[in-house]
């Protein structure tokens, strides 16, 4: 059972408080009517399913009710970072190779956490821009 750092509550909480919500950074097409059936189907149904580093969205359902993102290894289940909606991951697939190397040397970090920040969420233009670009 996961122990998840909520970037809004700024502490580790039990998995039971959270709901997984699938792949992160799935942006709705700006102009749905301009999408082909294939593009729309891709948006609705086609998700990355990596064996390894995965960026996924979770909801702190019994908690602050905020959606946020997790970078997690889908094999070891190690959580490499959590970050707020609108932010970008700092850990990618290349991390896995590096991590495996460290693991062979007998040492791994347990949990890294992206820097937390602002107290308020929502209306800033910056947040809008980064979400749209996600």
């Amino acid at each position: 059972m996961f122990h998840i750092y909520c970037p809004y509550c700024e502490e580790l909480r039990e998995e039971e408080e959270f709901h997984p919500k699938g792949q992160a950074h799935i942006a709705r097409p700006e102009e749905p009517d301009a999408c082909s059936d294939e593009e729309w189907g891709d948006y609705l149904f086609f998700r990355d399913n990596p064996r390894g580093i995965h960026h996924e969205m979770w909801l702190h359902a019994v908690g602050c009710r905020k959606f946020f993102n997790i970078t997690r290894n889908t094999v070891s289940y190690e959580i490499l970072e959590t970050y707020k909606m609108g932010e970008q991951p700092t850990v990618g697939a290349e991390h896995l190779a590096r991590e495996e190397k460290t693991a062979r040397e007998g040492k791994t970090d347990s949990v890294q956490v992206a820097e937390g920040g602002q107290q308020t969420v929502g209306a800033s233009d910056a947040a809008q821009a980064s979400v749209k670009g996600a």
Binding site: W40, K66, F67, A123
Partner: protein, 1022 residues
């Protein structure tokens, strides 16, 4: 009678039992005595009970082999009453209590006289591994009969047939460091970390903490180990940052250092949990521990040697012999032969001799054993036979002799003449396997170590194995290893800690010679011809079976295990797995690490379902949600319907008098009465369960337009509108009304079951796609109680109680007003789900009962009738109003429902669900449409879920055109009617369809519109 006559194998002194108290217990119908401190196993051995069970497949007699969690044979049925039966309890882990009743799990009429032994004896040659797969195939029709008899012979214990009188509970724990195992390593580690300031939990599965210290021959600081143990435990108790959990097994290691511990709180006290100070207590408790770091100090399990007839009662593990003698004061026999591959096991012979019984010989597979214990044994005059092993046990229901011969371990051959040594006990030791179970639960694969001749764990970050759990066995090293682990864990947690050698107790150094790698002992005959050499005693898996499996091409160890069932017992192969791998490796001509590794799944030892469930059962299985009017509904005798977690009144059966006397109305009668009341007078519904979401913000209106299919730009304050919500796949997901409370303020209602999902849905879109929109959503479902007053007389009734102008022009259909009802501030919404004049009254939930009762106080003269969800469904269906989830199923679009009026095709923003409506499949002809069905025979009420076909004469498979989604008898129409989805239904109005039923009847119905009553919608406008 003297003590020894009562308990022939009980020593007069020694051990940690209380001889001043006798406990009486029953095994297989016979009464025995034991002492506090005994396990059921030690008490049985003390009483000279050799045969404790019959084996699973061959019905062979079996005795106690081990003294702990690894015991494969002594698996008993426990319980004095039917309700308190516990199947498959390991006698080695069951503390003795007064009045304990147990019996063998196999054997009829009992384990001693078992008649199945003849089947086992005669049949065993015909039961190679996989024999089920190779037979019972003809004739095919007979399999179910064969299976019935096969099943009867399977299983171990039996389930109780009555509900459990006990309760179980959970404790959620958090700590910096969890230490599993309170042997020397675990105790040292816990103390070191506690001293550094860490919050520590120390859990140990045994009745007493101490692990190997409870039966060791060694001294610490020149004192018996018990002294150091006592001091250390006392030191731990003094730390208020330490929680000690004895009788607590860590059975599952889950992700991120979440460990489940099972604490047997009362199993040592009796069949059923006694109450404590007048309060009920749980029988056992499951601790759900979230730890920062975990130290596994779980020790090691001794491996038996695999030799012929090694399952006859009287064959024990060498370490178990020492444990029974030193901890329980029980010598399980008169004359011992010890067969070993290592020094450590010698202590069994020394303990045996010191207990005053005879040691026939120590048979050592090594040619030149040279350790200190070897010297001690020789000095004690014990005969040591080197380069040899016990190759076969003799005896039927108890060992009578050991056949001993010189062997060549590497060549796997018997090299010398066989000598038969008379004895009644054979102890064996093939070395030790670290208990790596918990480490491997995390997915970490153990690796083979030639140094310790066993698998050692690899661990994920934050987990440390210490002591025997990673192959460190000498006591002095174990203690130091434990301290180091504790200090390292504390340091990693951020506490200042250092190793101080001065804290370590002195342990006299002891030289141990190297062990040899012996698993299966060679026999004069080839494995397949020799007497059975058991690898997995519980599942009756022999070395021969493994050899056959490899002959048949099962080369992966996983295949071997599955084909032979090795390791699938309740002991999960704690004794047998490594030996089995060694046999497979030998047969395949490869090394053990080449053959594979061994991975364990939770649980380490079995855990009672009840403990996993905790208090989440019966009345606390799932929350029951109530509206503020629940007490009233109960008092009125309502029948309830489960809607999500809510209890909603389904209908209110009233007393009625018939020719048979007084009774309650049937559901049909009650519903007909309630329906008529609404259509003709006035009814009232508790609609408080509807989801209610308060929406505020400058962009609230814009947001609604994006999330609903229909338009919201022009909805004025004071007005209400119906809204339909889709996923972006275009399928209907919810509906409800939303009221404009003020320009930037709306109140959305959702269906009862979708309240939480819809709120989450709104938040999802807001937080992830449109954070720029200024809007906030808050649930007010529980804050507002809702009651619907509906029917032609609704206005008259409400007028008596409100200051709101209810005039039809002043307060139009789809308006809302604020005012007072029964003196309580209220919002009243003129919306209708029944098609009748209707007012939905919202008041703060505190006052709901007050208003409800006031309405009834005034409602008498109008025959105000409470109605439940069933009547609500009938009335709405008569009007063609859908229920999402009943008339839709996740594959229905607004167009399929014919709700074009609720689709804002020309809204500027591409609202959620719009694009999907133009996919090729959503555009195609012949989709299923929602329509009304009028049965040709008005007395027929179609079955909900009934299939609809165009051609009822078509052969099976008969093409289906749709199904009935809602169907009722309408007291208003005096006819059955239904809603249904039918292929191309909107183009088929007036056509007939057929409903072929299971009983052979075929109903005919006409496709009609969905509005059956008042299709022009005049009544709600009155």
């Amino acid at each position: 009678m003297s003590q020894s006559a009562l308990q022939p194998n009980r020593l007069a002194q020694g051990g940690q039992i209380d001889r001043t108290h006798a406990l009486t217990f029953t095994f297989n119908g016979r009464s025995y005595t034991g002492h506090p401190g005994d396990t059921l196993a030690s008490a049985l051995l003390a009483n000279g009970v050799d045969l404790v069970n019959r084996s699973f497949k061959y019905s062979r007699p079996r005795g106690i082999v081990a003294a702990g969690a690894e015991e494969p044979n002594a698996v008993v049925q426990l319980g004095a009453t039917e309700a308190t039966q516990v199947p498959n309890v390991r006698a080695t882990q069951q503390a003795l209590y007064d009045g304990l009743v147990a019996c063998s799990t196999n054997g009829w009429p009992d384990a001693q006289r078992d008649i199945m032994r003849w089947v086992g004896k005669l049949g065993s040659p015909f039961m190679p591994p996989g024999f089920y797969y190779k037979t019972f195939m003809a004739p095919a029709s007979m399999w179910m009969t064969y299976e019935k008899y096969i099943r009867k012979t399977a299983g171990l214990g039996r389930s109780p047939t009555q509900p459990d009188p006990d309760i179980y509970d959970h404790m959620h724990r958090h700590c910096d460091l969890l230490v599993v195992g309170a042997g020397p390593a675990g105790l040292s580690a816990a103390l070191a970390a506690a001293r550094a300031g860490a919050r520590v939990i120390l859990a140990d599965e045994q009745e007493a903490m101490g692990g190997s210290l409870l039966d060791t021959r060694e001294t610490l600081d020149d004192q018996p180990a018990a002294q150091w143990l006592k001091t250390t435990l006392a030191a731990l108790v003094e730390h208020d940052n330490v929680t000690l959990l004895p009788r607590t097994t860590a059975h599952g290691y889950h992700d991120h250092h979440f460990v489940t511990l099972h604490e047997r709180r009362t199993e040592h006290l009796g069949d059923s949990a006694p109450s404590q100070a007048g309060h009920r207590q749980s029988r056992s408790r499951l601790h759900r521990v979230r730890a920062g770091q975990v130290i596994l100090a779980t020790g090691a399990h001794e491996r038996p040697l695999v030799y012929a007839n090694n399952d006859v009662p009287g064959n024990l593990l060498a370490g178990a012999v020492s444990t029974y003698i030193r901890r329980y004061g029980v010598v399980p026999g008169q004359k011992l032969v010890l067969s070993t591959s290592n020094d450590h096991a010698y202590r069994a012979a020394l303990d045996w001799q010191e207990a005053g019984r005879e040691v026939a010989a120590i048979v050592d597979a090594r040619t030149a054993p040279e350790g200190d214990l070897v010297a001690q044994a020789k000095a004690a005059g014990i005969r040591v036979i080197t380069g040899s092993a016990v190759i076969e046990a003799k005896g039927a229901q108890r060992v009578s002799a050991a056949r001993v011969a010189a062997i060549d371990v590497d060549a796997f051959t018997v090299t010398g003449k066989v000598e038969t040594l008379e004895c009644d006990t054979i102890a064996s030791s093939g070395g030790y396997s670290p208990v790596i179970h918990l480490a491997s639960h995390t997915g970490a694969r153990p690796v083979w170590s030639d140094d310790i001749i066993g698998f050692v764990p690899t661990t994920v970050a934050g987990v440390t194995a210490t002591g025997g759990a990673h192959g460190v066995y000498p006591l002095g090293e174990v203690l130091a290893d434990g301290v180091e682990a504790g200090v390292n864990a504390a340091t990693a947690l951020g506490f200042a800690a250092t190793v101080n050698d001065a804290d370590l107790p002195r342990v006299a150094p002891r030289h141990e010679g190297p062990a040899c790698a012996l698993f299966q002992v060679p026999h004069e005959k080839a494995t397949l011809r020799a007497p059975k050499q058991f690898v997995d005693l519980q599942n009756d898996v022999t070395a021969g079976a493994i050899e056959v499996a490899t002959l048949e091409g099962f080369e992966s160890i996983e295949h071997v295990k599955r084909y032979t069932a090795m390791g699938f017992g309740t002991d999960q192969g704690k004794l047998g797995n490594i030996n089995g791998m060694a046999v497979a490796a030998r047969c395949l001509g490869q090394s053990i690490p080449e053959t594979g590794t061994t991975v364990f799944r939770p649980n380490y030892t079995p855990v009672t379902f009840g403990a996993v469930v905790g208090r989440h059962c019966r009345e606390l299985f799932d929350p029951e949600r109530y509206t503020p009017m629940q007490a009233w509904h109960v008092a009125q005798g309502a029948e309830f319907e489960d809607v999500g977690q809510w209890k909603r009144p389904w209908y209110y059966p009233q007393k009625r008098r018939t020719s048979e006397g007084e009774g309650l109305e049937t559901m049909a009668e009650a519903v007909a009465r309630e329906c008529r009341a609404v259509r003709e007078g006035v009814g009232i519904l508790d609609a408080s369960t509807l989801g209610k979401i308060d929406i505020q913000g400058a962009d609230a209106r814009e947001f609604l337009g994006r999330i609903y299919t229909n338009k919201w730009q022009k909805l004025a304050p004071g007005r209400v509108r119906y809204g339909l919500m889709c996923g972006d796949d275009g399928m209907v997901m919810d509906d409800g009304t939303t009221s404009c409370l003020a320009e930037n303020h709306f109140l959305m209602t959702t269906t009862t079951g979708n309240a939480a999902p819809v709120l989450e849905w709104l938040e999802l879109w807001h937080q992830t796609e449109w954070p720029e929109l200024e809007v906030y959503f808050n649930s007010v479902t529980d804050h507002w109680a809702t009651m619907t007053v509906t029917g032609p007389e609704a206005r008259k009734l409400l007028t008596e109680l409100t200051d709101i102008d209810l005039d039809r022009e002043a307060f139009k259909f789809m308006d809302w007003r604020e005012g007072h009802v029964a003196g309580v501030p209220a919002r009243v919404f003129r919306i209708s789900f029944t098609g009748e004049l209707a007012f939905e009254i919202n008041v703060q939930a505190h006052y709901a009962m007050h208003v409800w009762e006031a309405l009834f106080a005034h409602g008498d003269k109008y025959n105000l009738t409470p109605y439940g969800t069933e009547t609500m469904h009938v009335l709405r269906a008569e009007k063609g109003f859908i229920i999402v989830g009943q008339d839709t199923d996740g594959s229905v679009t607004p167009e399929d429902l014919g709700m074009y009026w609720a689709i804002g095709y020309d809204k500027p923003f591409p609202w959620v669900g719009k694009r999907a409506l133009t996919r090729s499949d959503t555009r195609r002809e012949g989709r299923k449409h929602l329509v009304g069905l009028k049965p040709k025979d008005a007395s027929v009420v179609l079955e909900e879920g009934a299939p609809i076909v165009f051609d009822p004469k078509h052969a099976i498979p008969m093409p289906m055109a749709g199904h009935v989604t809602s169907s009722y008898y309408s007291p208003t129409l005096e006819s059955g009617f239904a809603l249904a989805v039918v292929k191309g239904g909107h183009q088929r109005l007036g056509e007939s369809v057929y409903l072929p039923m299971a009983d052979g009847r075929v109903h005919e119905a006409e496709i009609v519109g969905t509005q059956f009553v008042d299709p022009k919608g005049e009544r709600q406008h009155v």
